[in-house]
């Protein structure tokens, strides 16, 4: 079953001459896949993440999420879609400093009109899943970098999205801590979650099921690693 499909996606940023970040990208991601999108900086991978995450619209081409064309939807429809179907993990964690781990994770459900008690319940479950059952009431500042990223991953998980987008999830972590995060992502995938990782790290990409390589806005390789995971 296809979760995500891009066909001939082009993204141009205005300027003279206009900058073409993506030059006709077509990919398809099935449920329960773990895909790495790899590329050097400037290769268009951030743009691709924005378009897949419906934070930006393609200049031309089509994006389907769970069979729905999302490339031309209204902003509020896309917001609803992000709230329910997409989970984001960022390089900079983006945690709210004043909130506990539980409340940070619970914000993942705020825009789905779910009450606070229920949100926190779900948040605790998600935090246990990422191995932070003992850190529920800690503030981000009391957590290590790896723990912070686990909180962010729990926040992406908590809404049971169809797709998790992780943008350089180990980019701000040392290699040992980063390894822990990669292990967590592999675990989550094993449980059946569809995950897309955007990274410039070929080493990480090599350990995923599938590696899509971008160069100058074009897909130059789309390889399945049979023996991965």
């Amino acid at each position: 079953m296809t979760v995500l499909e891009l066909r001939d996606v082009v993204k141009e940023y205005p300027g003279s001459p206009p900058i073409r970040a993506l030059e006709g990208v077509s990919i398809s991601v099935a449920r329960s896949e773990l895909v790495g999108i790899v590329g050097a900086s400037g290769s268009g991978k951030s743009t691709m993440m924005n378009i897949i995450g419906t934070l930006a619209r393609p200049t031309s081409g089509t994006v389907w999420l769970e069979g729905r064309d999302v490339s031309t939807r209204r902003d509020q429809t896309l917001a609803g879609l992000r709230a329910a179907r997409i989970g984001f993990v960022f390089q900079q964690f983006h945690l709210v400093p004043g909130l506990s781990a539980t409340d940070n994770v619970a914000t993942g459900l705020v825009y789905r009109r779910i009450g606070r008690a229920k949100r926190r319940q779900a948040a605790e479950v998600a935090l246990r899943q990422v191995g932070l059952g003992h850190r529920l009431d800690h503030r981000p500042r009391q957590l290590s970098g790896g723990e912070r990223q686990r909180v962010a991953i729990a926040r992406a998980l908590v809404g049971e999205p169809a797709l998790i987008l992780a943008d350089e999830p180990t980019g701000n972590l040392d290699s040992k801590t980063g390894e822990g995060i990669i292990q967590l992502i592999l675990d989550l995938n094993r449980q059946g979650r569809t995950i897309l990782i955007i990274t410039h790290d070929q080493g990480i990409a090599a350990r995923l099921h599938r590696r899509i390589e971008l160069v100058d806005g074009r897909v130059v390789a789309d390889v399945r690693n049979g023996e991965a995971a």
């Binding site: 995450g53 879609l81 329910a84």
Partner: protein, 400 residues
Amino acid sequence: MMEATARSRIRPLDLLRSGGQGLSTRPGRTMLTALGIAIGIAAMIGVLGISASSKAALLRQIDDLGTNLLAVQAGQSVFGEQAKLPEAAPAMVRRIPPVEQAAALTSVSASVRRTNYIPESETNGITVYAAEVETADTLQAKLAQGRFLDTATVRTPAIVLGAVSAERLGITSISEGPMVYLNGHWFNVIGILDPLPLNPDLDRAAFIGYPTAAKLFDTKPNASTIYLRTHPDQVEGVRALLGRTANPENPNEVQVSRPSDALEAKATVDQNLTRLLLGLGAVALVVGGVGIANVMVISVLERRSEIGLRRALGAKRMHIAGQFVTESVLLSLIGGVGGAVLGATVTQVYASRQGWVVDIPVAALAAGVAVALAVGALAGLYPAIRAARMDPAEAVHPTG
């Protein structure tokens, strides 16, 4: 499959929380910004409260003094000369049925001095009146010391001083039997009056008896002023009759006044000042509002990544705008409530120091908070729109 009804929605309580979060993260900034609004609101409520208390005090004073005191003055003739009331005027006035008390005063051409060594031209601004014995009762004058003139002392060189007169002459006590000098004659000071709020001009007067004035200074019995108390419900009726009664030949020359009107006019004059001060308070409020807008704009810029995150978590533009407007309104609510408390406190302290009844209009408190909220909503609008328009893709990647 994707739910067909996946919509982005937020509970109002969560919107409120999202607005409060930004404030509690930066308590110092929140307090300073709220202070701007608080000062404006406090100024407005203080002005309203103090003016209301002052007015209440004034009206109470007027009530205490009575609004049924009228003054009849000789006025001026058609040729512009000082007119005279007929000799019979006091008696005629007393004959009007609702008139309860009346007393005539006639100015005496004499000056009051402490001793005969002081030149006659130094009058100290004190006017000497020949006064009837009813004067103190009619004016409801209280004596700080001694007695007023009575039927015996009107025939002797006895004098009663107004409060200011006594002060100017340096007479603080009558126990030593002080004397004053009036154009060649020594008078015993037999009494000193308390200040007369309704007739402050009489505080600078000195009163002697009619027989004494006629004998020593050749004062004519024609009254310059007749003070009278009427039945409280008949004031206007009596007022209309006074001209013809006091001076039947030239009723137009007679001037009738109501001393309490002057105090009531004072209450009205205060309203103009109140309006001016309210205007200043409003300016302070606008400045406070601009302060909020400023801080909110900065806050929006600083919190780009939070805005990006919220958009990624599924917030609509409206939710982001709502969050920042809520924050701004909460900020001004803190300021408004703080200002209301401050304004009420200032009024309380000021009014009780003045010995007034404290009168803080509840409507003004409510209006103050409401105005603060409106200012907050208005000030938050522009920053909120900026936040809502932020490109989510750029906002989640602060480095581009």
